[in-house]
């Protein structure tokens, strides 16, 4: 077991509101970690801190340590640009650039120094295929990304992230707008990817968490109530609240 990201005593504030309270968690390499919990409990906030996206929100404060491969990302041992290249994030709400589909996908690779047209074309095809979008858009690659359906936009954002080949993939409800089949394809992709990457996904679907993840963390009101191997957490939760939640008895 190799730990890719080690989070220790992470506390996070939006202004005065404590959105994360003393979270410690180990994200293993080559594993899928699922995060579950009711809406508003801090899942998105948590994964956004992992690649320091929250730096961009004014009035936030963060305490604790996050180590990526042993290096403290909070102390700028890895700089934010490199960090974000290595730790890819797909947002909960799809946010394609107001550019063409093609330009959306090659945006990252181009920035990171790939100029060769053939290589870029290849990346586009591969990434879109990975995100199960290629067939639907291959004829309108140069059309606007904003003219896509909700689910298509979501997959485009996944493709955009895959194109960067990050070491860690953070996915905030990546399949929420997808039909079962597309979801299945994305899940298959994760299975492949996890051979090389660490993957963290936020999901509202217990089934999904159960199906694909190796470890699961249960968040509640900014706390990490329980974290452990998925099969154990779902079958023998240690905490009463976890049990209530996964059995749907909660609230």
């Amino acid at each position: 077991m190799e730990i890719k990201i080690k989070v220790e005593n992470l506390t996070f504030y939006y202004g005065n509101f404590k959105a994360l309270d003393n979270i410690s968690i180990d994200i293993e390499d080559r594993k899928i970690t699922a995060l579950i919990g009711p809406s508003g409990c801090g899942k998105s906030t948590f994964i956004r801190t992992l690649n320091r996206m929250n730096d961009l929100i004014a009035g936030t404060k963060v305490e604790g340590t996050i180590l990526l491969d042993g290096k403290d990302i909070m102390k700028n041992e890895i700089d934010a640009v490199e960090l974000r290249k290595r730790v890819g994030l797909v947002f909960q709400k799809p946010n394609p650039f107001p550019k063409s589909i093609y330009e959306n996908v090659v945006y990252g690779p181009k920035r990171h120094g790939i100029k060769n047209k053939a290589q870029l074309d290849e990346i586009v095809e591969k990434s879109l295929q990975g995100a199960a979008l290629w067939d639907e858009v291959k004829d309108k690659l140069h059309g606007s990304a904003l003219a896509l359906s909700g689910g298509q936009q979501q997959r485009l954002c996944i493709a955009r992230c895959l194109a960067m080949q990050p070491e860690v993939l953070l996915m905030d409800e990546p399949t929420s707008a997808l039909d079962p089949i597309a979801t299945m394809k994305i899940e298959e992709l994760f299975e492949t990817l996890k051979k090389n990457y660490a993957i963290v996904i936020v999901t509202h679907s217990m089934q999904q968490a159960g199906r694909i993840s190796d470890n699961t963390g249960f968040f509640l009101n900014g706390e990490l109530v329980e974290f452990g191997q998925t099969d154990i957490l779902f079958t023998k939760p240690r905490d009463k609240r976890t049990e209530d939640y996964i059995t749907g008895r909660f609230g």
């Binding site: 996206m53 974000r84 107001p98 920035r111 990171h112 904003l146 960067m164």
Partner: protein, 300 residues
Amino acid sequence: MKNEQKRKDRGRIGEFTIETILRFFAGISILTTIAIVWTLFSETIIFFKEVSITEFFTGTKWTPTLEPRHFGILPLFVGTMMIAIGASIIALPFGLGSAIYLSEYAPKRVRKIIKPLLEILAGIPSIVYGFFALTFITPILQKFLPQTQVFNAASASIAVGIMIIPMVASLSEDAMMAIPDSIRQGAYALGSTKFEVATKVIVPAALSGIGSAFVLAVSRAIGETMIVAIAAGQSPVLTFNPLKSIQTMTGFMVNISLGDIQHGTIEYKTVFAVGAMLFVITFVMNIIAKMIVNRYREEY
């Protein structure tokens, strides 16, 4: 329920009234144009009865108030262009740079202070810029380029450029600010530097607004008179040397229309001919600008 119906009817009539009023408002700009065209062109036609069109467009001497009279508009045209281009060279990069800084780099507090500060530049009366150019910029130019004349196009266009910086900066900044933050975050999440976010995502997305800002600013530069009259002199000579004294179309128009020239004479009618000419030029430039902006606009 009856009330509901009444409210709805009133609403519908209200909507219709509003649209009618707004259409009328929009019509005012058309009326303005018609009035301008009528003001300028009716006299211009008379002017061209006395002055040959060929001379007007191809002549290289502009001396309507001197003997012998010449009515070649090229010197004024070139002067105007030199000022407009020079001012653009200053204002566009500096303005856009400031806009990017304010929108993407500056902390909120800094932005709130600096933006209105820069806008003060737009409110300083142009006489001040004129004398600033004459007594401050020109001596600096002369230090580096001793052949610089006391009155010269370069220092005037620099001053004009400074004056229109806020136009470029403020309007472009607004356009960039209006890009939703989620787009920005998407770019950062892909490991972009600020520079890349600004230039590859935000600027292209805000291009329509930036384009408009440029057009407005350049228009303002073309229309500026006082700075040029003071700092560039009033020498309608055909030169491409920015270190020499020139005259612009607008500068000429103000001088004549507020000078001691007798009204109704051919000298006086030149004002209208020049104005009409300028109108046509800006018209063509606007069409070109539209084409350029449309070409580069990423409107998805």
